[in-house]
């Protein structure tokens, strides 16, 4: 190969790399602006009943984007949400779709109890949906991540893929299961059982693409926090007043 030819090739490759980087940056920027919680000018065209198995659309393109805001300043740790969920969704013994993690911080007399209701984060970019080998789990056009129990083969891959340990194998049905934001209630125009039963109104549910909704206003007016944002899952369960020690891997490993 001649030197001139080699140098053209190098130039070509360099240009290609620069171009690729530029393209990638553009895409990232677009994605980042798109997913900012401030409403964007994008057309909200995705109907609530659309189904996605991969290449998930951004929430700003959805007509509805259900979300939950959990105000931990108002949580008293009564676990009524756990009970309501169990009875609404017929969750078998030994497994839970939602529960309240309780952590004790400090030492007497400077001590406090911290609560953290935990449930499926209904990610904008759900890792569990990408790995399902039979398209049993999907993301709906309104942002809910659901499972078709008649298709699920119970391989456990989604359970592994969930960064929040929110999926489990239903011991009775032998398929994967998780919180669905009580899809049956939401479709009937009611809030999820946990939000409906929450005595302190810590759990708030609504459409984040609707500026008049309570969740939209809570998210815009308060510092909010999602769990494991570094994984890029973009959860749609927002916490207000979440403590670092409550979030993840607080205690030491012996």
């Amino acid at each position: 190969m001649g030197e001139a030819e080699a140098s053209t090739r190098r130039e070509f490759i360099e240009k290609g790399i620069v171009g690729a980087i530029a393209a990638a940056t553009t895409i990232t920027v677009v994605k980042a602006t798109g997913s900012s919680l401030v409403g964007s000018a994008r057309a909200q065209t995705i109907p609530p009943d659309a189904k996605y198995y991969h290449l998930f659309p951004d929430h700003t393109e959805m007509q509805k984007r259900y979300a939950m805001v959990i105000d931990l300043r108002r949580c008293i740790g009564c676990r009524a949400c756990t009970v309501a969920c169990k009875s609404e969704n017929n969750v078998p013994e030994g497994v839970f779709r939602t529960w309240v993690k309780i952590v004790e911080k400090g030492q007497y007399p400077i001590v406090s109890h911290l609560f953290m209701p935990r449930l499926c984060n209904q990610c904008d970019n759900p890792p569990c949906v990408e790995v399902c080998p039979v398209k049993a789990t999907y993301k709906r056009g309104d942002g809910l991540v659901l499972i078709d129990y008649d298709l699920c083969i119970g391989c456990g891959y989604c359970i592994q893929a969930c960064p929040y340990d929110m999926r489990f194998l239903n011991p009775v049905r032998k398929t994967a299961e998780k919180c669905t934001f009580c899809v049956q209630r939401v479709d009937a125009g009611q809030p999820p059982a946990c939000a409906a039963t929450c005595v302190g109104r810590a759990i708030n549910f609504g459409d984040l693409n609707d500026p008049t909704s309570e969740v939209y206003q809570l998210v815009q007016k308060n510092p909010v926090h999602t769990i494991k944002p570094e994984l890029g899952t973009e959860p749609f369960v927002y916490y207000i007043g979440l403590d670092e020690g409550t979030e993840f891997r607080s205690a030491e490993v012996d």
């Binding site: 030492q107 083969i153 893929a161 205690a251 490993v253």
Partner: protein
């Protein structure tokens, strides 16, 4: 700041247990066995000719039993076939790639074996009678033409399928690595080195298993008959084994060193991996006894030529690599992702018995394969039609003698 004390959290459980850790082990052994048969069938290395067929049989048997571990672990085993339905198949899931590979790879192996075994199947059919004759004619698919032209066709098509089989064998194991490495929720699994590391340790364990199998089958042979196999282990296969071991050591070092400098999640993972019972399995069984010891033992060429040393090292490696898979699959799950507890896992009696059953089935199938199939090259004297009463004997698996 003192860490808060956890008062309540729902315990996470281990979803993928012993059976799932057996799966990458078996596919790895199969891929490696196929790779070694390819040295004979694709690269036409004369020294590897005697083991081309036995390693092909081994590869097929291992891949036939491997998916059983998956089906055993499914919640809805009856729906396993739905992965293959075109409208359900999900291109983004590594399990979706797996179903194509798990179906395609054994087919390639069997077609390859058909072409390379056909000549001997026809010859066996010629010297047998009754059911046996019909059986071997079936194995040759009733193509009994033994003309040089037909044999050349066999060789050509066999080689084509052997060449196709190499990427298939590599992918059928590498995809298993991808199953784990795409899970970003598990920091220990989510490493790009994993599929390659799986492949390297698969080559190590597969070579070790083949050495054990060869030493076992040659134990029932006359000294003269066993010579080509033993020479092969002493010279080529033993050397290859050591170089695979050396590569594996390099991968372990390359994979482990960055872990000590890594993020909180990985460091915590490392603490879990290196403590308690699991720590014993990781440090001693997997790495010291299962990897470092055989590597150092076979380092001097003198030991590489000793069959006893090769056998000892092979047994250690076969055990060590199994625990590598076990520690990898379980180790990734032992740390609860939401809370802070370390999950205890002990294989249940069902899992243990299922594993033993699947391996037992594999051994049985392999022995059946050796009994029925002409895995040794048939010598001309066995083919000359013997007197009638001896027919049955001649057609028995000893035909190769």
């Amino acid at each position: 700041m003192a860490d808060p004390t956890q008062l309540f959290d729902v315990d996470a459980t281990v979803t993928w247990g012993l059976l799932i850790s057996l799966y990458p082990y078996l596919t790895g052994l199969s891929a490696a066995a196929f790779g070694i048969s390819a040295i004979s069938y694709v690269f036409k290395v004369e020294a590897y000719k005697p083991i081309g067929r036995i390693s092909l049989i081994l590869a097929v048997v291992l891949l036939v039993i491997a998916p059983l571990t998956l089906i055993g672990e499914l919640g809805q085993a009856g729906r396993a076939y739905t992965i293959m339905l075109p409208d359900r198949w999900h291109w983004m899931s590594p399990m979706g790639w797996g179903i194509i590979l798990l179906t395609g790879y054994p087919i390639i192996c069997i077609v390859e074996a058909y072409f390379f075994f056909r000549e001997d199947h026809v010859k066996l059919a010629q010297v047998s009678a009754g059911f046996k004759r019909a059986f071997y004619r079936f194995l040759a698919l009733w193509r009994t033409d033994l003309s040089p032209k037909a044999l050349a066709t066999d060789r050509r098509w066999g080689t084509i399928f052997a060449v196709l089989g190499i990427p298939a064998a590599l992918s059928v194991h590498a995809y298993v690595g991808f199953i784990f490495s795409v899970v970003r929720a598990r920091p220990f699994w989510n490493e790009s080195i994993i599929p390659l590391y799986f492949l390297v340790s698969a080559m190590v364990s597969g070579t070790a298993l083949l050495i054990i199998v060869l030493l076992l089958v040659t134990a029932w042979m006359s000294k003269q008959e066993a010579k080509p196999y033993r020479d092969l282990i002493r010279a080529d296969l033993g050397n290859l084994f050591w170089w695979f071991l050396a590569t594996d050591v390099a991968f372990v070092v390359a994979g482990v060193i960055p872990m000590f400098y890594s993020t909180r999640d990985i460091r915590q993972q490392l603490t879990v991996l290196l403590s308690g019972t699991h720590g014993f399995l990781v440090i001693w069984v997997e790495n010291v006894i299962g990897l470092a010891l055989p590597f150092l033992l076979l380092w001097p060429k003198r030991f590489r030529r000793s069959l006893a040393a090769q056998a000892f090292a092979s047994v250690l490696v076969v055990i060590g690599v199994f625990f590598m898979r076990y520690n990898f699959v379980l180790g990734g799950q032992l740390l609860d992702r939401t809370g802070s507890q370390v999950i205890e896992y002990v294989p249940s009696a069902t899992e243990l018995s299922a594993s033993v059953g699947i391996i037992g089935l594999g051994v049985a199938l392999f022995l059946l394969g050796l009994y029925v199939l002409p895995w040794k090259t048939v010598k001309p004297e066995a083919v000359t039609p013997p007197p009638a009463p001896a027919v049955a004997e001649a057609a028995s698996p000893g035909v190769g003698k």
